[in-house]
Structures are given as C-alpha cells and as structure tokens.
Symmetry: C2
Subunit: 291 residues, 2 copies
C-alpha cells in the first residue's frame, strides 16, 4: 500500500477542485457564496433566522446584511415571529422558489455529470462517497421521530426489506410491501418511528408498536452499510427503549432471524433475554426486556 497520508492528500485536492468549482460564485448564478448558503436554508413555510445563524455559524450582523440583500432581490420576505416579537422569520417568495429550482437543476446536472464520469463504476463511486460522508459526519448523526408514511421512512423500510430479502433464505421481495398496513401504530401515543439522519440522509431506523396493553414490540431495526461500525444500532435501540418507556409500556419484545448475528449479539449485550416464540417464519429468535 502506498502512503495513506499521500492518498488522503490527493483525495483532498481532488474534491477541493471538484467542490471548489462548485463554490465560487455559487453555481454561477451571480450570487456570493454566503448569500447562496443562506438562501438554501430558507423555506417557503418560513425559517427562523436564528436557526440559520446557528447552522452557518454566522455573525448576527453579517446574517442581517445577507438577508437584506436577498430581500432586495425579492427572493425572500422577512416577518416578525408573532409568538416572540424579537425573533424574525424568513420566507421564500415565489421568485425565490424559482431561483431555488434553478440551483437545484444545476446541482442535479453537476451531480449527474460527476456520476457519469465513473462510467460503469457508478455504484462503487456512490458507495465510496457514502462511506466517506458517513465517516466524516459520524459525530453529526441525529435521531429524529418520523411519520411512518413520510418518504424518508419508506426509503428506510425499503432498504430494510432489501437487507432481509438478501440475507434470509425464503424471503422474496413481494412478501414485503410498502407502505405499512398500520401506520397509526407507529405514532404517539401508540408507538414511534425513529430515523437516524446523517446530514439529512437517512442511514438507520427503528420502530415500536403496541403488542399488549403494557407490552410493545420493537420492529424494523436497520442500519445502512455505510454507517455500520459506529454503534448506531445500539444508539437506536437505546432511543426506542426510552421512547417506549415514555409511552407507558413496561416491557418490550422483538423477533429476529439467525441470519442477522450482529443484531442477536447486540440484544444479548443490552439486557434482552430469550423468550418463547410468538411469531412464525421468518423469525428464529425471540427476545424480551423489562423497562
């Protein structure tokens, strides 16, 4: 192997060139990068400007000026928050939405262009980018509740089903259908659906639904391959257990399959104990835990 440091530096130069071309006068729409970055965070529904300031780590004076310049372009409108009149909210105007769509088109085209350069290695390139992004962003994983019918949730479930279909003999894709048949079981006060995001890309999920008056069942623990090895599954399980307790459940159960040894090992080391079977195929192992 050639020097790892030299490789990392070459990587840095390569992506600096790639994203640098992207940076300067952001995507060539005649707007400084700072203003463009702010614009990206403003939604038609309105974004609290304090949120923008925190996310971009901007000085309040600087942000104030950037917002004013965007307002002068009629891309955003500013309003006072009625609940706290010190705060202000930025809204994307119809003109602003048009402008954002233009950014989107360009960004899309650039991304497609980059992927095209990989030729037949496209999937390998995406996998490589995933691994790097997840590694670099591992300190920024955020776990948030989601609507089980939201597109991100369905994407997670689809990925989860793909894993099952690939790993467990006898499972075919048509045995697993979307969306869930009982979504209301996965929202408070009956249950929960938690997604782990790495910079807004879902990389893991877990859910809990009612099983008996004081017992809930944990379902659909999934961690994307690019995000493994950082204890995310453990974190997801800990979160869902806490959530179930808060919902008033006093015990949890779950089933799993022998083809998922990492999951089984995790349950064994986190206080779960084997219980009698309560489901059929594809389950081969059953666990319970008192909260």
């Amino acid at each position: 192997m050639l020097d790892a440091i030299a490789r990392l530096r070459r990587f840095n130069r390569a992506v600096t060139r790639e994203t640098g071309a992207l940076d300067h006068s952001y995507l060539g729409r005649g707007r400084p990068l700072g203003a463009a970055r702010v614009l990206q965070l403003v939604t038609p529904q309105g974004t609290d400007i304090a949120e923008i300031r925190v996310k971009l780590a901007l000085d309040s004076g600087l942000l104030s000026r950037l917002l004013r310049s965007l307002q002068a372009e009629h891309l955003i409108s500013l309003a006072t928050d009625p609940t706290d009149r010190r705060r202000r909210t930025a809204h994307l105007t119809p003109q602003g939405q048009t402008e954002m769509a233009a950014y989107d088109t360009i960004g899309h085209a650039r991304a497609a262009d980059t992927l095209a350069r990989a030729g037949k290695n496209q999937q390998a390139l995406i996998d490589a980018m995933d691994l790097i992004a997840t590694t670099l962003l591992q300190d920024q994983l955020s776990l948030r509740d989601a609507d089980p019918n939201a597109p991100e949730a369905l994407a997670c479930l689809q990925s989860y089903y793909d894993v099952l279909a690939q790993k467990i003999d006898g499972i075919t894709p048509d045995m697993l259908t979307l969306p869930l048949s009982d979504p209301q079981n996965y929202v408070a006060p009956r249950g929960a659906f938690v997604i782990a995001y790495s910079d807004d890309l879902p990389v893991g999920c877990v859910s809990v639904r009612p099983h008996a008056p004081t017992t809930a069942e944990v379902k659909r623990l999934w961690v994307d391959s690019s995000a493994r090895g950082h204890g995310l599954a453990r974190r997801l399980m800990h979160t869902i257990e806490t959530r179930a307790k808060a919902l008033g459940y006093t015990s949890l159960i779950l089933d799993t399959n022998q083809a998922l040894p990492e999951a089984i090992a995790l349950y064994h080391t986190t206080g779960w104990t084997p219980i009698p079977p309560y489901t059929d195929f594809p389950a081969t192992h059953w666990f319970g835990k008192a909260l």
Copy 2:
C-alpha cells in the same frame, strides 16, 4: 437505494466541512491560505514562479505580493533565472524548510485523525478515497519517466509484487525482492521505466529492458485497483512501445501468467501474438510484437 443525487450532495457537504477545517489549519500558522498554497509549491532547489502562477491560476500581481510577503518572513528567497533574466525563481530557505516541516506535521496529524475516525474501516476508507480521487482526476493522469531506484518506482514495484503474490499460486513475497538487481537496464539508452501519476500519486507503471541486440522485454505492467477501468494499462503499453521504438528496438517480448486474464486480453487486442516460452515459472503465456 436512496437517491444518488442526495448522497452526492451529502458527500459534498461532508468533505467541504473537512477540507474547510484543513484550510483553517493552514490559517492556524498565521498565514493566509493564498500564501500557504504558494509556499507549498516552492522547493529548496528552486521553483520557477511562472510555474506557480500557472498551477494556482494566480494573477501575476497577486503572486508578486504573496511572494514578497513570504520573502519578508524569510521563508523564501527570490533569484533571477540566469538563462532568461526576465524570469525569477523562488527558493525555500532553511527557515522555510522548517516551516514546511511544521505544515507537514499538521497535515500528517490531521490525516491520521481522519483515518482514526474510520476505526477498523480504515482500509475501506482509504480505498474509497482512492476511487473517488482517481475518478475525479482521471483527466489528469500524467505518464512520466522515473529512475527505477526512486521511492515512487519502488512503491510501484512493491504494489506489483503484492498483486502477483496475491493472485498467483506458488508465489510468496520473499521470492520478490527490492530494489531491482539491474536498475541500469531500465534507463536510457538501454531501457525505460514509466510511472503513471494521478496528481503526484503513482497509480501505475510499466518498464522495458534489453533482451537481445534489437529485442527488448516489457516487464512489470501494473495498474492500481483504484485506477482500473479507464484504459490506463493500454495507455501505459502504448507509451512503453513508443519508447522502445525510440531506443532503437525493432521487436518486443513479454511473459505473463494465466492468473492475469485482463492483461492477456489486452495483449491480444493490441497486436501482440503468442510466441514460444522463453522463461519458466511463474510465466504461463508469452507474447511478441514487431515494432
């Protein structure tokens, strides 16, 4: 699979943050990024400032000022090129070398830190970075002659040997030793050693050495796994054949092993024809080509 474009954007944000932090470490030594980038290109042996200007795409006025500020810090010295007294050359002073060593330490530490974050996936992270860097830089591959005893050449040979030891049954690492026993056979006027660089990182090599008065032997064709699929082997072979012809040879021979089917396929499609065996194990196939 989740949306490829979203993944690519997440990747962009992740590495932007990462290389941004790297930029700040340059700033961390009390010098603006521009000056630091210039300093990186100045060698103790002297660098033509026109070369710096082209590489960094700097305005001559701006570069002039940056050089002056580095000179004021006693990190570089400027001299007039004796062969063309309009040109100037920048040399790294001993103080400058000390400063560069400091940058090197920082870069090394940061790189080690990034790699450490990958935990046990370190090798996977490096492979992923290689694939991305090579894909993004594929239009920037440069083929240059090298001294067969130079560190880059030895690194190539080591990688080549690793491939052989891994793919061919019966080869053990101790059968292949560095450096070459006959380096003088690989430099003009007897032979050549060509390395393919992707932004200064060797990703492939090939060589030719004398076999008979008008016949030379092609040896050690290697392409790094991250650089495959872009026709680099073909380009290396074309280059080495042209080089052999320029050295006065009228025919070429080579041997290879059945465990390297891509190489054999390449020879078949580029005018090489099977010839009688002229070597023993590990060779299993022999080819010749008239120039």
